[in-house]
C-alpha cells in the first residue's frame, strides 16, 4: 500500500500540484513570480488558443465518429470468427502498436502531393496534386483521416467482450427466429454498452493530449489549422514560458476530466450490462 501511495504521489500528485501552482506564475525554470490570473487572461484572449481548443475537440469528435463505430463494427464481425479472422485481427492491431512518430511519417508520405498514394489513387478523379496536409481547408480532415487505421485497440477489446457473452442468449434468439443481423443489433450491441463507453474513455484520454501525430505531420500549420492544445502548450514550453504552458496544460486537464465524467455517466460505466 505504502509504495503505491509513494509512487502515486511522486508521479501524479506532485506534478499536479506543480502544474496547479505554476499555472498562476511567470516561470522559465529559473525566474519565478506569481502573476495571478495573467496567464489565463492571456490564454483566453489569444485566438490561437481557441483555434487549438477547437481543433482538440474536433479530433476527439472525429475519433468518436470514426474509430469507435468502425472498431466496434469490425470487432463484432471478426468475433463471429469469419475465415481468417485471426490474421485480420493482427493486421488491424499493428498500427496501434507501432510508434506514433513512425505512423505519422508513413502518413506524411501517404498524403505527399507529388508521390503520395492518396493523390495517385485520386488522380483519375481530381487530376491534380493536392497538398492535403498544408491546405487549411483539408488539413484537419487529413489528420483525422489517419484515425481510420488506429482501430486495433477497439477491435481487440470488442472481440474479447463478445466472446464473454453467454452463447445461450444468442442460441435462444436464433431458436426464436432472430436473424444474424437482428442478433447482432439487438443482443450483442446493447451488451457492449459498457465496453464501448470504456473505449471511448480511452480514446478521449489519448486524443485530448494529441501531439505527436500533428507535430510530425504539419507542426500545427497551416496558420494553426491543425494546432492542438498539447502542441500549443509545447510551443509555450520551448519558448521558456513554463508557467503559461502549464496554464494551457491545466485547460487540457479540465477539458479531459469534463469529457470523461460526461462519458462515464452517459454510458453508465461500472454498472452491469447484463
Amino acid at each position: 500500500m505504502l509504495p503505491a501511495l509513494v509512487l502515486f504521489a511522486l508521479f501524479f500528485l506532485v506534478p499536479l500540484v506543480v502544474l496547479a501552482v505554476t499555472a498562476f506564475s511567470r516561470w522559465g525554470g529559473v525566474d519565478f513570480a506569481f502573476t495571478g490570473l495573467d496567464n489565463y487572461r492571456r490564454l483566453f484572449s489569444d485566438p490561437v488558443f481557441w483555434k487549438a481548443a477547437g481543433n482538440t475537440l474536433f479530433y476527439c469528435g472525429a475519433s468518436m465518429v470514426i474509430q469507435v463505430p468502425l472498431g466496434v463494427a469490425v470487432g463484432m464481425t471478426l468475433a463471429m470468427k469469419v475465415p481468417g479472422w485471426k490474421v485480420f485481427r493482427t493486421i488491424i492491431f499493428i498500427p496501434f502498436v507501432i510508434s506514433g512518430a513512425a505512423y505519422a511519417l508513413v502518413f506524411s508520405m501517404f498524403y505527399n502531393p507529388s508521390y503520395g498514394l492518396l493523390n495517385n489513387l485520386l488522380a483519375p478523379v481530381t487530376g491534380g496534386q493536392h497538398d492535403w496536409l498544408f491546405d487549411s481547408g483539408t488539413a484537419r480532415w487529413a489528420v483525422a483521416g489517419t484515425f481510420v487505421f488506429i482501430i486495433g485497440f477497439v477491435v481487440v477489446v470488442v472481440i474479447a467482450e463478445v466472446a464473454a457473452i453467454p452463447t445461450e442468449l444468442l442460441e435462444a434468439a436464433e431458436v426464436d427466429g432472430a436473424s444474424l443481423i437482428q442478433r447482432q443489433l439487438f443482443i450483442v450491441l446493447p451488451l457492449l454498452r459498457n465496453i464501448i463507453g470504456t473505449v471511448i474513455l480511452v480514446r478521449l484520454l489519448v486524443d485530448i493530449g494529441m501531439f505527436d501525430l500533428v507535430f510530425i505531420l504539419t507542426s500545427g500549420g497551416p496558420d494553426n489549422a491543425t494546432t492542438t492544445l498539447a502542441l500549443y502548450a509545447y510551443r509555450a514550453y520551448v519558448q521558456g514560458q513554463w508557467g503559461y504552458a502549464n496554464a494551457a496544460g491545466s485547460v487540457i486537464l479540465i477539458l479531459g476530466a469534463t469529457l470523461i465524467v460526461t462519458v462515464r455517466r452517459a454510458f453508465r460505466i461500472g454498472e452491469r450490462a447484463l
Binding site: N112, P113, D131, D223, R235, Q239
Partner: protein, 442 residues
Amino acid sequence: MRITKTVAAATTAVLMAGVLGACGTSKGGSTNAAGEIEITCATCQKSATDPFLQFNFEAAQRFNEANKGKYHVKTLQNANAGSGDARLQYYQRLALANDLPDVFQLNSAEIKSLSGTGKLHDFAPDLKADAKWAASFQPRAFDALSGRDGQRWAIPQQQDPIGIFYNRKLLKSVGYDSFPTTWDDFEAMAAKLKGAGATPIALDGDWATLLMWSNLIGTQPAGSAFLTSEIATSKDWSTNQAAVKATERLRGWQAKGFVNADSFSGDFQNAASKYLAGKAAAVPNGPWFVKTNLKSANASPGLYDVTDAAPSPGWDSGQGLIVVSGAGWVSGTSDQTKLEAVGAFVRFMSSTDEVVKQAKATGSNPPVKVPAATVDAAGLEPLSSRLVTQIPRVAQTFPHARVHGPGGIDAAWKNLWPAYVKGEIDTKAFLSRLAAESAAGS
C-alpha cells in the same frame, strides 16, 4: 547483533561518503588518470551519416594525439549532436541543470537563444589576447555568433557562400547556357521549364524557401540592411518595401507552379529529391549539398557532371550571394583549467590544417583566411568551393534570414507560408504576423 549492524551502517556510510567524494572530485576536477586536462565534447562522436560529426571525431583524435599528456577531449555520445529541432531544447535543459558540455557546436539561432542562459563562455577576451588568432578569421566571420555587447559566443566552424545548384542539361533544353542573372529572366526561364514538364525550382517551405526569400530581399538596394539588422528588431516587417516586394514575388512563383507540389512540408529532402531525380532544374543550398546529396546514392547517375552552382539572380543586373558563418564551437564551462584546454581545442580546430581537412571532408568552406596556394594544393571539391571565388564579383552579399532573424522564424514561416500562398492572409498580415511570431518563438 547490534554491534554488527552498527559496524555495517558505519562501513556503508564511509563507503558512500567515499563514493560521493569521488563523484565530487570527478565533477569538479579537470584532469584524468593520465594527468591530462580533460574536456567533454558533445559533437565529436563518430557518425556514418553526418560528415561534420565524423570530421569532428577524427579531428578530436588528432588533437588528443598532438596533446598527449597535456589535454584530452572526451567524446560524449549525444543523440542530439547533429542539427535538428530538439537540439536547442536538449542544451537548454543541460544549461538549467548547470551541466553543459565543455565544448560543442550550435548554429547561430541556437547560440542566440542559449546565450540568454548566461552559461556560454564569451571568447571575446581570448580573441583580444591573441590578436594573431583573431586576425586569422575571415571578415564578418563572427557576425552571426556575437552578442549585442561585443561578446563572441562561438568560434566559427565554417563560412559558406550559399548559392543555387542547377542542372545545366535541363537549362540547355530550354535555351539557357548559364543561370539567369536577373529575376525577370529567371521567371522567363521558369515558364519555359514548366512548359517542358520540369520543376523550375525545388523548395521546401522552410530552409530552402527562406533562402530564396533572402535572395529576393538581399538583391534589392536596401535589402541587405534588412537582413543584417532590421530583421532582428521588433519592427513590423510589412513596413519594409524590400521584404514586401520579395515576399510577393516568391508567392507568385508558387501560384504560377514554378515550385514542386510538396513545397510546404518543411522537409528539405522533398526539395532535394526532386533535384536528385533530375526532375527539378534548380535547388538552393550550401556547398555541403554536394557531399550529402549530390554525391550520395540518391542522385541519379551523371547528375553531378551536369550540375553547376550560381549566385542568385538580381533585380536588375547585379547578382547576390548569401554568405554565412552560421555555426560555431561554443563552451559551457566556467572552470579556468578546462577553459585552457577548450582554448587549445578551438585554436586547433580553426588552424589552417584542420579547416582545410574539414573542407575536404564535408564540402564546407574555411572560416579562416587560407592562402590560395594551400587551397589549390588541397584539391578541394570544385563544385563546393566554386562560389567562394565568386564572392568578390557579386554586387551584394547578405546573410540567410535565419542567421540574423529571430530564432522562431522557421516555425513561424512554416505555419504561415502555406496560408499566405493560398490567399488566406494578405502580404501585410503575413509579414506582420511573421515578425511577431518569429520574435515570440525565439
